[in-house]
């Protein structure tokens, strides 16, 4: 993808099939998910995924702003995906650029595909996603954080939304690209899965893949999402598990 004018391309895949950080092709970066770090929000989550740090907060159902967006039959789901100025190597100009606006749109549509919005007519459910430290795969980390935050806010949904990006690195289909792989790889395909139905509610792709490669990437991504799904559930259980009184005292 980033082939034009690229300087030194690092070795992305060694002879033993290990990637730049030693991972196998089907291996995820380490993920830690914490539900409810922001007490003032209705729901929140913090995700550390490889070198990504993403915070999400959910407010609502609440009054719709601006008012004209209000819908009489269902809640509107508004999403703001934003990258902090200091989240990337070269300072990013603050505010929503076109990329962030597009990502906000597809993430909002993904959430709207699973939230029971018709239960809250004339309200807004606002999902705020802030990327604090970025290292490829931020929209997927944002989706995971936003989804856990929605659950933490008690919003009824079909299911949680695990997400991951699959890509093509040095000719091989690889799970969960990190920055160097994203910059110098041949393709990037982020997706979000509804585990209950096995369907995808977010899917984008950029780069080049043949039909068989694409089929393989979809299957690999679905498997990756299933692993992330378990971690999301574990984070929510951790937040809402009742500790025995004896443990509290100690």
């Amino acid at each position: 993808m980033g082939s034009v004018g690229a300087k030194e391309v690092p070795v992305l895949l060694d002879a033993e099939g290990r990637r730049i950080d030693g991972r196998r092709l089907d291996e995820l970066r380490p993920i830690q998910i914490r539900a409810g770090p922001l007490p003032q929000a209705d729901g929140s989550a913090f995700v550390e995924w490889g070198a990504n740090k993403v915070m999400a907060a959910v407010y609502g159902p609440r009054e719709v702003h601006p008012r004209h967006l209000q819908q009489s039959t269902k809640a509107v789901i508004q999403c703001r995906y934003n990258m902090a100025a200091f989240s990337v190597d070269e300072r990013k100009r603050p505010g929503l650029d076109r990329r962030s606006q597009e990502i906000s749109k597809v993430i909002a549509e993904a959430f709207e595909s699973v939230v029971f919005a018709e239960e809250f007519p004339r309200t807004s459910i606002d999902v705020y996603i802030e990327v604090l430290q970025a290292n490829a795969g931020t929209r997927c980390a944002g989706l995971v954080a936003g989804s856990v935050a929605l659950a933490d806010a008690g919003i009824p949904m079909v299911d949680l939304l695990p997400a991951v990006a699959v890509g093509k690195v040095a000719g091989a289909i690889a799970l969960d690209l990190k920055k160097e792989e994203d910059n110098f790889g041949e393709a990037d395909l982020p997706m979000a899965l509804v585990p209950q139905s096995g369907r995808l509610v977010l899917l984008q792709m950029e780069g080049h893949m043949t039909e068989p490669e694409l089929a393989k990437a979809l299957d690999l991504g679905v498997e990756g999402c299933k692993v992330i799904y378990e971690k999301m559930k574990a984070a929510l259980r951790e937040r809402y598990s009742v500790r025995p009184l004896a443990a509290e005292a100690a």
């Binding site: 034009v4 039959t73 597009e102 549509e109 595909s113 509610v201 080049h208 039909e211 299957d219």
Partner: protein, 262 residues
């Protein structure tokens, strides 16, 4: 009857028809509307094309000017794509800064142009780090009956295919010369209507849709971009089937783009 109720009745009707493999305008699920391409529509542009897909119309004008390359790509020219959903083309479009819908069209078309390496940007470099051509791809929608992404993409590749670098005017070369277009990416958009996935949705079908998916292919058998949009979901098998169909439509549309070249 309120618009909302009317819209709901229409949606139900479209979904009922789709369940029988039929569509409001009589097409089968895999029928694409008639496409016309009119190259060179705007004489003041360095390349242009007016593309119609049924009642949807997209006009693309390409402008080429000398400028400065980006610091991180000193040996390459610059290409930017912008789509304007201007209010004259649909009662649903409003004046003002681009809305998320317009940004999505721009970015999905831009992604396919870029990923397919449609234009070899290194050939737009004049003096490394100092001077390069800047290629502005501007798309104006002149009619909106659905499927803006495909229309915008066809207009963009058609306009680029016929573009001429105004090298003489800017004193860069003795004579003007054609822009070298090395690949022909084409987008193909589908929507889900119940269990049926139809190609080339109309405005009403997009409103009734339970998910939209766009697949960009090029002539060498590569998928170069994808975008799922709207509320709704697709299984991995749906996606694989749609990719196959996108190649069939894509190859046919590419022939049309080639045929329209002057």
């Amino acid at each position: 009857m309120s618009d909302e109720v009317a819209a709901e009745i229409l949606q139900t009707h479209i979904l009922d028809l789709a369940a029988e493999g039929r569509r409001l305008d009589g097409r089968a699920p895999d029928d694409y509307r008639t496409v016309t391409i009119e190259p060179g529509f705007v004489a003041t542009a360095d390349g242009s094309a007016l593309v119609r897909i049924g009642e949807t119309a997209a006009l693309c004008g390409v402008k080429l000017e000398p400028g400065k390359p980006f610091p991180d790509t000193p040996n390459a020219g610059v290409l930017t794509t912008n789509a304007e959903l201007i209010p004259l083309s649909s009662p649903t479009f409003e004046p003002g800064p681009p809305q998320p819908g317009a940004i999505e069209v721009s970015r999905v078309v831009d992604r396919a142009i870029r990923a397919a390496e449609t234009v070899d940007l290194t050939r737009l470099c004049v003096t490394p780090g100092e001077k390069s051509w800047v290629c502005y791809v501007d798309i104006h929608m002149l009619g909106h009956d659905g499927n803006l992404i495909d229309a915008g993409m066809l207009a963009a590749v058609s306009a680029l295919s016929g573009a001429v670098l105004p090298a003489k005017r800017f004193g860069i070369a003795e004579a003007d010369y054609p822009l070298d277009v090395q690949h022909l990416p084409v987008e193909c958009t589908f929507v889900r209507l119940g269990d049926t996935i139809v190609v080339d949705p109309t405005f009403d079908e997009e409103h009734a849709a339970q998910g939209r998916i766009t697949v960009a292919t090029d002539e060498s058998g590569r998928v170069v971009a994808m975008q799922k949009g709207l509320v709704g979901a697709f299984s991995p098998d749906d996606v694989k089937a749609v990719v196959r169909r996108a190649f069939v439509h894509g190859d046919r549309l590419r022939e049309q783009v080639r045929g329209a070249r002057r």
